[in-house]
Every structure is written in C-alpha cells, then in structure tokens.
Point group: D2
Chain length 425, copies 4
C-alpha cells in the first residue's frame, strides 16, 4: 500500500473519516499527510516547526495526547513522521515550482469533533464501511474532505507545468473551538505569503455552488473558569465554607446580562457547568465553560474583558478564588476583492460549478481569520472559499456527511485560482 | 408656666408626645429636659459635651437639622438651652446625693419615629388632644414615656434623703436606627458608672409586669449604599453606559444569600431602593438601604463584612463606583445577674407589680447595648429593665400608645433599684 | 392678538417653546393649533374625536391632567377649544382643496419632555426670552418646530391654488414614550389616507440636508411593573413578609439576560426602581419601569413576551403579586419607495436644500410607525421625512435647540411633496 | 465458617467494614444479619416485608442495584437470604422472650458512604487489613459498628433469661441522605412498639460517655431537580434555544436567599450541578441537588415548599421544563424523659461508662426521627442513644474510624435499658 498521495480524493477522505482525531491529537492525520506531501516533493515543517506549542489553546491533558499518539501508531501512521511530532501536531509544507516569486498559501484544517457518529445502516459512512472507528470522535464538519482537497491541489500542481510559484500548504490542527489558528498565524510561515486561500465544504450551500469570498465571521473567545472555594457541612457549619457554586451562579446570570452594543450583535453563552458535591456539602469547586462573540473584534474584546471582570467579581463577592484559561479564540476578517475576483473567475470556468456567490457571511466563528489577518497585515491578500456540498444533516450533527463530488470541484476551483494568482503575480 | 420638673408624669409625657422629634432633631426635648434637671440641681453636659458629634451615625442633612431647631424654638423650647446644642442634641445630667461613692447611671432615649400618627378620634392622643403636631413624626415606641420616667426618677431621688451616691441621667438621642448609642458610649461619661440601668416600656409585656433583665438583643448594622454609574441611551448606546441598577440588583440578590451561621440566627434585609431614570436611560445612580443582624456580635460583624464585600464586588462586576455609609449600628450584651437581682427584688416590693420576669430576650436591636458594654468593660454592672404596658397596637405602628399607669411603676421600680444599688455599694 | 395662523413660523415655534406640555397634557397646544386651523378653513376632530381615550398609554394621574388644563387656560389657551378636549388632547384637522380625490396626511407630534431647560444666558431660548415657563418641562426634541411646520404647510396650501386634494393634519399627543401613536392609528382617520408624511427635525443631520425616507426604527415596548408583597419586621419575622424587592431584583437581573436574537439587535433596560421602606422592613412594594426594543417587530414582541414572563415568574418565585401596564409601545416600518422619490425630487428643487439622503435608519423608536403601518395596510404609501437642523446639544438634553431656518425648509419640502403626490394621484 | 452470630463484636464490625454497601445496596449486610438473627431464633421480615419499596427515596438506578447484588453473592452473602431481597434491602427481626407484653424496638442503620477510604498504612483498617474492598465506598459513619451492636444485643438477650418481652430489631437501609427511615416507619412494624431505642457511635463524644437522649435533629429535605430546555447554537440561533442553565443559575441564587425564620435556624444548600454542553451550545439540561434544613418541621416544610416554588418559577422564567424528585427527607423529634431516665440509670451502672449526658442536640439530620415519631404517635416512647467513641477523624471523612471498645459499651447499655424497660412495663 502506497501513501495517501497515490489514492483518489474519495479514498483519502474515507480513510481520514474512519480515523477521526480531535484537536491536538491529529497524529495519524498529520503523519499521513506529511508522508504524502514528502512523496510529492514538498519540504516539511512538522509539529513544533509548524507552530509554537506555547501558543496553543485548549490542549487536552497529557494522558489524552499520549493515548492518541499510541493509537495513531497502532492504526498505521508512519512512525518516522509521528516521531517528529514531539510537542504538537500540525504541518506546513512548501514546494516551489518554476522560478516565479509569487507565494500562494492554502490552509486546510484537519481535526474532528467529540461526537459519536450515527450508526444507522443508511448513514453512508456505515453503509459503505468508512464510519468512525473511534468512539465519540467523528468528522462531522468536513475537515476530512478539506485535507483530501489539500492533497489533491498539491498533486495537481505537481503533475502539471502550469504553475510558477511557491505553494505553501497549511495543515492546521484544532480548528474546532478556534484553538489552533492563532498559533499557526504566529509561526512566521505566513509572513511571506502573497495570497492566502482557505477552504470549507458545505456551510449552507449545495454542490455546484462556490462562495468566492466567505468572510466576516464573528470574533469569538472561549474561556474556561474554575471557582475554588472551601467545603464545609452546609447544615452544621454554613459560615465555614466558601461557596464556589454561588459564585458560579452569580457569574452565569450576570454574564448573560453583559451590555449589548451600539455597533453590532453580541453573543454570550455558558454551555457547561460542573460542581460535584453531595447536597449537604458547600461546593468547594465549580467549573464553567463560556464563550462570547461579537460582530467585530472591538465588541468581542469588550465582551471578553467584561466576562473576565464579571467572573473575578463573582469570585470576590463569594470570597472564593478562581482560575481561568482561554480555551479558544478567533478574530474576524474581510476577504480581499482581488482574491474574490480570482476565485470567482476561475469558478465560473469549472464545468460542475453552477452558481458563484461573490461574498457571504460565515455563519459562525473561524480561526483561519488569524492566518488571513497575518497575511493582510504583511501586505498580502486573502480569501476564504466555500465549496458547496449537499449535506444530509447539519454541521456537527451525528448524521453529517459530505457529497464526495464536491471534492473534485474544490480541487479544480483552487488549482485554477492558484494558477491565476501566480500568473497575475 | 414652670418647667417640666413641676408637672406630673402624664403631663410630661403628653407634652413630648405632642411634639415628637426624630433622631438628631431632639432640640425641644433636650432643652426642656435640661431645664427641668437644672431645676432639680443637676449638672448638665449638653450637646457636644454629652457626645462627640463625629461619632454620630445617620445624621439628617443640615437643612433638616436647621428646620427642626427653628421649630423647637417656635414651640417653646428654652432658647438658652437650645443655644447650647450647637453641634448636636443629647444630654448627660449628673447629681451627687449624700457622700457615698456609688455612681448609678440611668439611660433613657428620647427620639420619635418617621410615621404619621393615626387620626382616629378613638385613638387616645387624638381623643385627649395630645396627638402629634408634627406631620410624619410620632412617638410610636414610647420614648416620650421613657423621658417622663427619667425626670420622675430624678425628682423622686431629689425629694428624699434615702439615696447616697451619684445619679447620672443619660438622655440619648437617635436610638431609632441605633444611631446615637455608640457616640454616647464613647463620651467618657459612662466610664465611672458602677451600675447602669436602661429602661423600656411595653415590648410584649402588659402593665404590672417587670422584666428585670432584658438582654441579648440582635447585634445590628445598617448600611447606606449608592452605586454610581454613567447614563447612556439604552437603545442607541447600550455599551456606553455603566449600569448602577444592574449592580444594585446583583447586590440585593446576593445579600439575601449571605451564608447562615453555625452559632445562631442571621438576618439580612434591603428595605429601600431608588433609581430614578426614564425607561430608556441606563441608570447612572441606584441607592439602597440595607441592614444585617446577628445573634451575637461575631455573626453581625461577619455579615457586615460580607455585605460590604458583596456591594463592592457588585460594583466592580458592573464597572460602577459606589459610596457607603453606616446609618446605624448596635452590639449585644448580657444583663448582669446582681443587677437583675436588685431590680427583681425591688420590683416585687412595688404594689402595682404583679409579675417579675428575671431574664428575657429583647426582641429587636437596641443601642443601649453600647452603653451597657462600656460600663461592663470598665468593671461596672448593668441591666436593661422592661416596664410592662398594655399597648393598643404594636411598637412603630400608627395607633401605638402606652398605658400611662406604667409611668409611675417605672419610676417606683427604678428608684427602688437605685437605692438598693447604692446601699449595696 | 390674532391666532397662531397669523404669525411667522418662528413666532409660532417660540410661543410653543415657552409653554411646553408633556404627553397627554397638551391642552394649550392642541387648542391653539385647533383655533389656527379653524381660521384656515379646516374641519376639526378634537380630543375624543381624534383618538379613543381607551387606547392611550402612559396617561398621567387625573390630578396632573387637571392642573395642566387649568394652566393652559391661565396661559391663554382659547377656552372654547379647551372645553372640547374633555377626555383627551389630540387633533385631526381636514380640508379639501379643489375637487381631486387624493388624500394626503401629515403627522406632527406636539409633546414636550420632563426636563428642566438650561438657564444659561447663552442658551438661545434664554437669550431671546422664549425659554420654558414650566419647571421641569421642555421642548428638547423639536416638536415645537414640528407643530410650526404643520401650521406652515396648512397655510401655504390654503394660500395657493396649486393643490387639488384633501389634506389631513394629524397633531399627535404623547409621542415621547410612544404613548399616543397607537391610539391615533386606530381612530379611523388614517383609513382613507392615500399618502402619509411624517416629519422630524435634526436627528443627526444638519440644516440643508433632507432625509427622504427615514425608516426602520426599533420596535419598542415600555412596561410599568409593581410587585406587591407584604411588609414584616425583617429582624423579628423574616418569614412573615413577602418580599417585593427580591422579586424586583431577580426580575432586573434576568431581564437583562433575555436571549439575544438571530435576526437582529435586541435591547433591554430597566431605568427606574422605587422601593421605599426603612431598612428593617421587608419591602411590600417595588415598582420598576422597563423597556425592550428589537430590530423588527417579531424580536420586540418576543422580548416583550419574555419580559412579561420574567416578571410574572419573579413574582411567583417570591410569593408576591404584581401589576403591570404598558407605558408605551411602537412598531417599525419601511418607507415606500415612491414616497421617497416624491420627497427626494421635491427636496432637490428647494434652494436651501444642499443634500438629499434617500433612506436612513431612524436611530431610535418612533410611534408614527403605527400611523404609517395603518396607511400601508389600507393600501396607501408613506414616508417619514427628516429635515436637517444644526443643534447645539443632543436631543433630550437641556441645551437642545433647533436651527429656526430649518422650519421654512420643512414647509417648502413638504408642500412640494404634497403637491406632487396629489398631482400624481 | 459459622454465621455472624458466632463471631465477636469486633469481628462482625470488621467484616462489615471491609464490605461497605451504600444505601439500598446493602444486600450482603442484610443477608448476613438475617442469617445471624435466624440462628438466634428471630423471626425475619426481609426486604419488601420490612418496608414498602414504593416509599423509598433516592434509590440508585437498576443497574447499580443489580451489580451490588451480584457482588454480594460473590462476597459470601448467603444466597437464600439474598433471594428474599427481591425488591429492596432492609430487615425487621422479632423475637419474644418469656411471656410479658412489653415490646422494645432497637433501630440500627447499616449503609456506608460514597467515599474512598484513606489508604495510609497507619489508618487502622489498613494496618489491620479490614479496610474497604469496595472502591469509593466506606463505612465512615460507624454504621458497621451499629450493626455489630444490634447483633450483640440480640445475642445477649437470647443468652440470658432476664428479659421478658418482645425485641424487634430494625435494621434500616439508606440512612445516609435520610432515604430509608420514612419507608420503614410506615411498615407497620413500629405500630406496636412500646419503647424504641436507636443508637449511634461517636458524634462528638469520646469513649466512656453515653448520651441518654440525643434529639432535636434538623428536619431536612433533599431535592433532585433537572431543568429541561432545548439546545441551539448560541452564536447562530440564540433565540431558538431554551436555556436550562439560566434557569438553574437563577434558582441557585434565589434558593440561598429563601427567607430566614422567626422560629429558628434555616439552612439551604445546593451541592451539585451538572450541565454538560460545549461552550457554543445553549444548555438543554441542567441538573442540581439541593437540600433544606430547619430547626423544627414547620420551618423545614416551609423551606421545601419555597424551594419548590423557586425552582418552578425559575423554569417558567426561562421557558424550560423541570423534573424533581425527593432524594431524602427527615423530620425531627424529642426524646421522651422516661426513656432518658431508663438509659441514664442503666448507663451509670456500666463500669466503662464514665459520663452520662442526659440530653443533647443531634448535630445533623437523622431519619430515625420518622421511626421515633411513629412510635410516639402510637402512644409509645422513644429515645436515641449516643455511645461515645474516640474517633481519629470526623464523621464522613476518609480517615474516620471508631474505637472498637465502644461496641461492648453499647451492647451493655442497651441490654440494660431494654431489661429495665421491660421490667417497668
């Protein structure tokens, strides 16, 4: 059996679909993609060479990482590449074609979600045998397809002589939760990129539609908070405890009441809370996971600031301590018009493309925004391309699946755009 | 017309009842009592000589004080005494009888309540014409009677030769809200008192009953808080305001949830809130009046501390400032057994006394506690004497009235006790 | 002295400015305008004939109305017209010109604000002597100017022979708080209006600018709530009370946390709270004034529903009752394109107009929306016209003033538009 | 190997200590005790014959019960007795001695706690090898000793001829959390008991001390609540969700603020909360475990009522549903003076007893209260006996242990009391 580079787009996607890896555990995925791109003549920047581990957010405990790494090796990840992922997953792969100076980046994300895949025999991955082998992990957002497209693009450009320039492939870990984009944006690898493309399947558009300029996602921040009090018998010594749960409840109520904004939409949510004591013991610990979002970075930063103030004041009010850590964070961006033009023109020339949308709002948050902003800050241009795909269930749902016909469309559109961008210089 | 010292107990009480003065505005009362006691040969310590104005709590605005002073003069307060109340109301009056060394103190309070007296023609003060002349002020807690008893005791001891010792009469302002006791306790006048008696009418006991040792009132603290934010149009600029009302609401909810206590009862209440803006303006100010009480001083101090922490944290949470001031405060005490013995023995010898209760809990807070504690700390002993009185309505209610027969009983019991204490040395 | 119909626009405006009347107390204003329009040959529908008193919201207490009425007569309001305002203020005045069938409506509002006018001698109303004679009432939103424009338009059309059609002048009370628009919209007088114009001065645009289609104001609702509990001594009988203030605090915190909306902006505010008890008495009453706003009627209705649910649940949680009443309410609307065209075309032809904005968002709520929607529902068209005016301070501020040059511009633009609309049929 | 009836008190206790079973899983314990008492001639009422399963509170899921039952058989529980525990654990065993009519009941509880035993080699159970074999289960409240005492009493009375009467042994399951007492009290077996004794080791008294009348525990109720809302994407569709966590937070804050009580202490606590969603998903479920306690049954019932009202209102406020179930409940009682006399007299005659306390407050809640109240309601008398024991760590802590010398003292005191009660008739 050869490497992924020898297989069809559908085979690649199905192999990854069957072996989903959640954020920061993408050992098998990274290693297989690295091997394939090495085959195609790319220079590899693996793990720590692709991003600074200290910039990562929302990293699982060491034990989880070690298990995932062991599993990757059990499931056929090439050991020499896994070994190079010492501190972190992630890959930047580079190849220069011809002698032209234009550098084009393509970002694909590769992580799966914590979700059990639906086992209905009519669900295509089950019907055709490529369903997830990993309990409570699933490619329910199409990142398996993004990786296949990335390899497809690399292969197509390698196979032909019509591209003069440098292609940089950014294979980003931990997009879910917006945990990996910031780290990759700071790696330095974006700094000489003239034009950056990012790609996503689905997102509300059917097969045949291409969105040339998906942009303006919500800026977003996710915060993990643990209130730390002191246990006491609630009946015998109510004044002896320090009640972490009262702090949490006060924080929750007040977080939802953070002031709205003159300049646009605001969002606040607390999704998760745990306080594990018996009824008669004052809670010495209560942890919560919250997020804020804002239409624009100023709003998001204001909300994050106020959320932190709220949490700190709730702790102080109830005489408890607290710890907090960013679980994830994303900014927002606008796609550049010339990039939209390049993608739109190319897409119109692709047979299977039946409709081109020039610009649309990303209906969520997306940490490609950090990569886009980095390129733009350094004088380059960028866009985020939507490749339409029929989907039988919404993103993140257990019956999610992509239309595999969209993979080739994605490759064709991106290859065309890259060629045009390099020709335009 | 002579001074109050020439009048009967009932006449004194009725004069005061008709001219009630709320805390720190007792200009007429102080001046008339001073005049009467001067007549009886007492040395006077008036106003600032009776207590340090800086120690007062819950003092009304200057304009209120000035109006009350003017009214006192209009209503016959002797001007020379009013003039000596430059900074504050209040009086300590002293007279030494014979040559013995024992110093006995008697504390009576003199302030009225902010309450409109019931105008029903069957309400005795209306029926007999001695109802309050002052809108929204009323002697609804019997302090008019306490003052009458105090003058009665002074007169009785002056009239006979059976007391060797020094009598100190503490005529305390602003007992309601526990605003004046602390100041008087720090005046120095308590420091050489061997035995202190305080007195209250009613409090749940009918005429003929005497409680020799009323004690263990709740310790108490009252705090005025104003949150100071910034107004903004709630529709147009919700993020521009700083919302004092959200701070107040969070404070209120969390104040009621202050931890209960292993050692006894806790109480918290917010009685008053004002935030005056229109619906569409973010509140730049919200003021509230709260109190805490505890069974014992430790509990009360803990609650006050936590209340302050809660208020400060609520302000910080909503990015607003706040001011706070103690409106009143009281501690607790236990009556001394020898004092209870003295009062009980005496009371049993008074004809009109049909029942003697040795010790009972004061069902409220009482700032005589500071005077009692001061005497006890200096090695003296003290008790708080309840003189039963039928009452047609509860204390602080608009139909409250005392049974004037109780006045003479009060004088007899206290005079007897003072004689016995001085004899015992 | 003649009626207002004989005076200049500036004189009319200044007379009204000096005698501001807040919502539902516009006795003098209504009577003077009625008299002027009668002079000009208009048929009057006064008071109850202009709107159903039962549909009014946020009506002040009877005593306030009676005082305002008496003051109006003192200040020169023609008594015969005041007499016809038996139940309510408000006026619809109609005149048919020529024999054409087109009916054009013009809505002006006439109420002032509860605000003290700035007494700085440099503030033009003070400098030139037409400042408010009424303490705590002020025309700080330009409605004095709107009325002047309305009379100006009526006079101009009466004076010339170039208008064939019927003009209906809607002189609306109580726009502030959005209390009068709903009632007027249900009067029937709108039902045969083919084209409706409403007008506002200022709102962010300087003199010379005209906004042909001001629209999409926030839908809005204002609710007055009183929680009704039971008093008790907070120290002695904490379980005997039913605490209206705890209900209010819980309601406030939870109102601000009402869910945001997928479809647009949401707003919530509680501006006013009163709970008047002493610290040691459990609050038997707490009143609050709140508002919600939404970008679109669905959002606003959802917020109002949820606000009511929140208030009811807070009452139930704390075992207290509650009363509630709508203080005001407004919907939203879109201006019709043909109306925008008519106004824009006309405005461009007016010399003093230097800039025409076709469509802009009203940065607030506006109860003309009900009138607009009524006309649109019956098949007519409508727009809301902004007449730019320099202003030295923001709307609703104590130094607010209008540029009186804008009055003539307003008349010219509206007269032109009305003629064009009637010509177009 | 014989039954428990052949072993020493210490051996019995250690066997049980090594095999702790939490509430409603006491299959091994019940079966072994049943076997031992059958050996001693007692008539058995096992499982459903001892209490109505429908009256049980806080029963674990079926799977937990099935596992516990299987484990019991693995660990040597006599299968014929386990088979008779079809629906529930629990045992009432009866034997009549002589021909007298007096019926004396003795209640011992037998369940362990969910807690990991400390594995320190100095902790006596580890040192001597009788530590818990069950992860996260431990006899940390001395119930292992209570059962040993129960068997010891049965054996002692069987062995001698000095008791005329009927002994009923109530071996109660699920005392922790107050889940089993109510069911047993309703079984009918208490209805003919003339005198009831219950027993507890430790509770603040050292070896040699006996408390003849432990009483007045807090009345208590534990409620499990689950709020049931609807998930939605918090960024994309905030108005589509129904937020169970906002309901929970509002409930928590307001539960702690339930009104205090004129008649005595109140307690409220929420110990446990779980809401498991990701940050960006509105919580469709939030569960919490709360308890209330009151000094006296009226207070407790009021608090429970108000807690339920609070929970229901919080659900209604946030438009979510909720389920609730009592997890446990206990009332309070006073020990009867004649019973205190009997125990005190007997205890003074026991050599190892160095101090007898007549009456003391149980510093917690205790569901023996239901059994006591049942006997008292039927005309019998009861007391709850404390057998002092040194303990190296507090009740419910991981290093808790009893002084095994206390076991024999317990047997002697109780046997003596039972004899005296039967003699007295």
């Amino acid at each position: 059996m050869g490497t992924l580079s020898d297989r069809s787009l559908v085979e690649i996607r199905r192999d990854l679909h069957a072996h989903p890896e959640v954020g920061w555990t993408e050992y098998r995925t990274t290693a297989l993609v690295a091997e394939a791109l090495a085959d195609l003549g790319f220079t590899l920047h693996l793990g720590e060479a692709a991003l600074d581990p200290a910039d990562r957010m929302g990293v699982p405990p060491d034990g989880t990482l070690a298990s995932a790494r062991a599993r990757a090796e059990d499931e056929g990840a090439p050991a020499d590449y896994v070994d190079r992922l010492d501190e972190t997953t992630g890959l930047v792969a580079t190849r220069t074609f011809g002698d032209a100076g234009t550098t084009v980046g393509l970002r694909v994300d590769m992580d799966a979600l914590e979700r059990e895949e639906d086992a209905d025999p009519d669900h295509p991955p089950y019907r055709d045998g490529y369903h997830s082998r990993h309990p409570n992990e699933m490619h329910a957002c199409g990142h398996d397809g993004h990786v296949a497209i990335g390899i497809g693009v690399a292969r197509a450009l390698t196979a032909t002589s019509t591209f003069d320039g440098t292609l940089k492939l950014f294979v980003q870990p931990a997009e879910e939760g917006c945990r990996g984009g910031l780290a990759m944006s700071r790696s330095g690898h974006l700094d000489d990129v003239d034009h950056l493309l990012a790609v996503h399947l689905g997102l509300g558009y059917g097969t045949g539609t291409v969105v040339a300029g998906f942009d303006r996602p919500y800026a977003n921040a996710k915060l993990d908070v643990t209130f730390e009090g002191e246990a006491a018998h609630a009946g015998v010594a109510p004044d002896a405890g320090r009640n972490a749960l009262q702090a949490a409840a006060t924080a929750i109520t007040n977080l939802y009441s953070l002031p709205r904004d003159a300049d646009g939409l605001t969002r606040v949510n607390v999704g998760q809370v745990h306080a594990p004591n018996a009824q008669n013991v004052i809670a010495e610990e209560a942890s919560l996971r919250l997020e804020v979002r804002g239409e624009g970075e100023r709003i998001n930063e204001r909300l994050l600031d106020r959320a932190r103030t709220t949490v700190a004041a709730a702790a102080s009010m109830h005489d408890v301590g607290h710890r907090e850590a960013l679980y994830g964070k994303a900014t927002t961006f606008e796609a550049d018009a010339p990039m939209i033009d390049a993608v739109a023109t190319t897409a119109e020339a692709v047979d299977e493309v039946t409709r081109v949308v020039r610009r649309a709002r990303i209906p969520a948050s997306e940490d490609a925004a950090y990569l886009v902003r980095r390129v733009q800050e350094r004088g380059g241009t960028a866009t985020y391309v939507g490749i339409g795909s029929e989907i039988p269930a919404g993103h993140h749902e257990s019956r999610f699946d992509i239309d595999e016909d969209a993979l080739a469309i994605g490759v064709d559109v991106l290859v065309g755009a890259i060629r045009q961008l390099s020709a335009a210089g």
